[in-house]
């Protein structure tokens, strides 16, 4: 491994963790704000910083910050007769696996920049999906041990529910993906993404969700259950078990469970995007299309406009205002034009020397990199939004019903999906 490769890997680690750690706290804000909107409320908007005599609230964007500060300085409570070591260690066990999952996820297109082959993922493992499953099952320990170590009956009930529920749903989750693995023929996540380019049947993007619609639904349900959020929030079931397995946690230890939950939401969205929504691929287009300035321009326009729109809704600005609408359009236009220019400039202007030449010669690759990153982020954000809004819509299951759903509905359905996929593949090939 050369020094450059080491640096690339380190940068990738920073990028992956950075992406997770910036989206996850944002989601704690988004959860409150989006749920508030759907529930006919305004949501939190009072946290403020006094700057030059003006209080800046940023529409409640400061809440994650305030939360973090609060949790750090809050008393770290430890039940007297609890199991000290496990009580200390289990929040880490809850966060770490959730973070580790992101290592195998391709965040963007593999590019060739400045003479280096750069895969936009920390580790491109052959057995990427198996790695995912391994870490997903590790996360059971965190919550199970937390409840047990708290010496609390509610905690115990919560941890029992967690362990049985998570393990049951992992079985279903694993089986639903076998269909996809058979279709693609690889466990490597970058292969799966590569496979999802172009069109199928002439009019559909060749995405996992169209190749395996049933599998996608099943996977979505079981991945949802893995995050332990409503309607699958029986481990913490507010009204029965008060807070379930983390009832005796406070301060940053509680914060880590909380963060872990949101990290799981993000990684869940990443996984779902990679497996079923083509990862960083553009719909209908092949990955070669990233070198087409026109495609890059249109894609850039849409994704930049979306990101601007996202930021604007973050800030709570009124979307009815024509100026805001103009800003969104302008942002999209600038982004699209910039990317298209970057991609196609060398072709238009011919080769140049110096730093400009260096950038221009790497222009198409750079544009591809930026574009794919943006497309991927956009997909994640939409999925996270969907995930969070779903969480606030439904009442929760009962313990036995969730097990019944897992074993009696999801598992057989996954098997059926597997068999049908096998038959179809046999016929086609």
């Amino acid at each position: 491994m050369t020094l450059a490769e080491v640096i690339i890997r380190l940068v990738m680690v920073a990028l992956a963790i950075g992406l997770l750690m910036s989206i996850a706290p944002l989601l704690t804000w988004g959860e409150r704000k989006w749920s508030a909107l759907a529930q006919d409320r305004v949501g939190p908007n009072r946290a403020a910083i006094e700057l030059a005599g003006k209080s800046i609230t940023l529409n409640g964007l400061l809440y994650p910050l305030a939360d973090g500060l609060k949790m750090i300085f809050k008393e770290d409570f430890m039940p007297t007769r609890g199991e000290k070591f496990l009580h200390f260690v289990s929040p880490w066990l809850a966060v770490f696996p959730a973070l580790a999952v992101v290592a195998v996820i391709p965040l963007g297109a593999r590019v060739n920049l400045f003479g280096h082959e750069i895969p936009m993922q920390v580790a491109d493992l052959d057995a990427g999906i198996l790695y995912l499953f391994a870490f997903a099952s590790l996360s059971v320990y965190g919550s199970t041990l937390a409840g047990w170590a708290s010496n609390n009956k509610y905690g115990l009930l919560g941890s029992l529910r967690t362990s049985s529920m998570l393990i049951s749903y992992e079985v279903a989750m694993g089986l639903t993906l076998v269909g996809l693995m058979m279709t693609v023929g690889s466990l490597r996540l970058s292969d799966i993404v590569e496979y999802q380019q172009g069109t199928m049947l002439g009019f559909l993007p060749r995405w996992g969700i169209f190749m395996q619609p049933f599998g996608a639904l099943l996977f979505f349900v079981s991945a949802f259950a893995e995050t332990k959020r409503a309607p699958f929030d029986l481990p913490e079931a507010e009204s029965e078990l008060v807070a379930g397995y983390f009832i005796e946690y406070s301060g940053m230890k509680f914060g880590m469970f909380y963060l872990g939950e949101f990290v799981e939401v993000v990684t869940g969205a990443c996984l779902f995007a990679v497996l079923f929504f083509g990862g960083w691929q553009l719909p209908w287009a092949s990955s070669e299309a990233y070198y087409n300035p026109l495609v890059v321009g249109i894609g850039g326009f849409i994704s930049t406009a979306y990101l601007v729109f996202f930021v604007i809704t973050l800030l709570g600005l009124p979307l009815r205002d024509p100026r805001i609408q103009f800003a969104i359009a302008a942002g999209g236009f600038l982004g699209g034009a910039g990317l298209a220019l970057l991609s196609g400039a060398e072709g238009l202007l011919g080769p140049k020397g110096g730093v400009l030449g260096l950038i221009l010669s790497n222009g198409p690759e750079l544009a591809k990199l930026l574009m794919s990153l943006m497309v991927f982020t956009m997909k994640i954000l939409i999925l996270c939004w969907f995930h969070i809004l779903l969480r606030w819509t439904y009442p929760r299951f009962r313990y036995d019903q969730v097990m019944k759903l897992g074993w009696k509905m999801l598992l057989p359905a996954a098997l059926v999906n597997l068999v049908v996929t096998g038959i179809v593949l046999l016929i086609i090939r």
Partner: protein, 176 residues
């Protein structure tokens, strides 16, 4: 009866017996429910914040207008010369279910005024804002139309409002 039976029958409910097939599939009904929820989301996101659906009052910047009959903290009305209309007849303290009004009467020189309160205190912590004192007053001397809540206080003594304080309270709809 049923309780005397020591043997306990454990049942796990199974609702599937009276559901239609599409209810049993979860997804259609869940999707519909999500549709309603998302409808609210987009209506509030794209709609006009001012007259939107939220109906949230940004207290303390915004305040709702109380109804005309709303019973707030008390006040004593005044005669044109600034003295209280109260004639210390004790009607209000008799009618008060919470016994929060305390009055000591005094004689006044003015021949048109029978009596006046020397001491008139209302313990606003005891008060339950039922409005019976206002009903009981034969002189329209006590009213609850100030439109103010009794504020939070640091000591119990502050909650006992005396004559001066009660006279200085203003009514929402003009000070009669």
């Amino acid at each position: 009866m049923a309780e005397s039976k020591k043997e306990i029958k454990t049942y796990i409910s199974d609702a599937s017996d009276d559901m239609t097939w599409h209810e049993r599939l979860y997804v259609p009904a869940l999707a519909k429910g999500f549709g309603v929820f998302a409808k609210h989301f987009f209506r509030n996101l794209l709609g006009d914040k001012e007259e939107g659906d939220t109906g949230t009052i940004q207290y303390p910047e915004q305040k709702i207008a109380y109804s005309e009959r709303w019973r707030g903290a008390h006040r004593l009305t005044k005669r044109p010369d600034g003295s209280t209309k109260c004639v210390a007849c004790m009607m209000c303290s008799t009618a008060c279910p919470a016994q929060c009004i305390h009055i000591i009467a005094k004689e006044v020189d003015d021949p048109n005024v029978e009596k006046a309160p020397e001491v008139f205190v209302i313990d606003e912590l005891r008060c339950i804002f039922c409005g019976m004192c206002v009903e009981a007053c034969p002189k329209d001397a006590i009213r609850m139309d100030t439109g103010i809540h009794v504020p939070a206080m640091y000591s119990r003594e502050e909650a006992v409002w005396d004559l001066d304080k009660l006279i200085s309270n203003k009514g929402v709809r003009g000070n009669v």
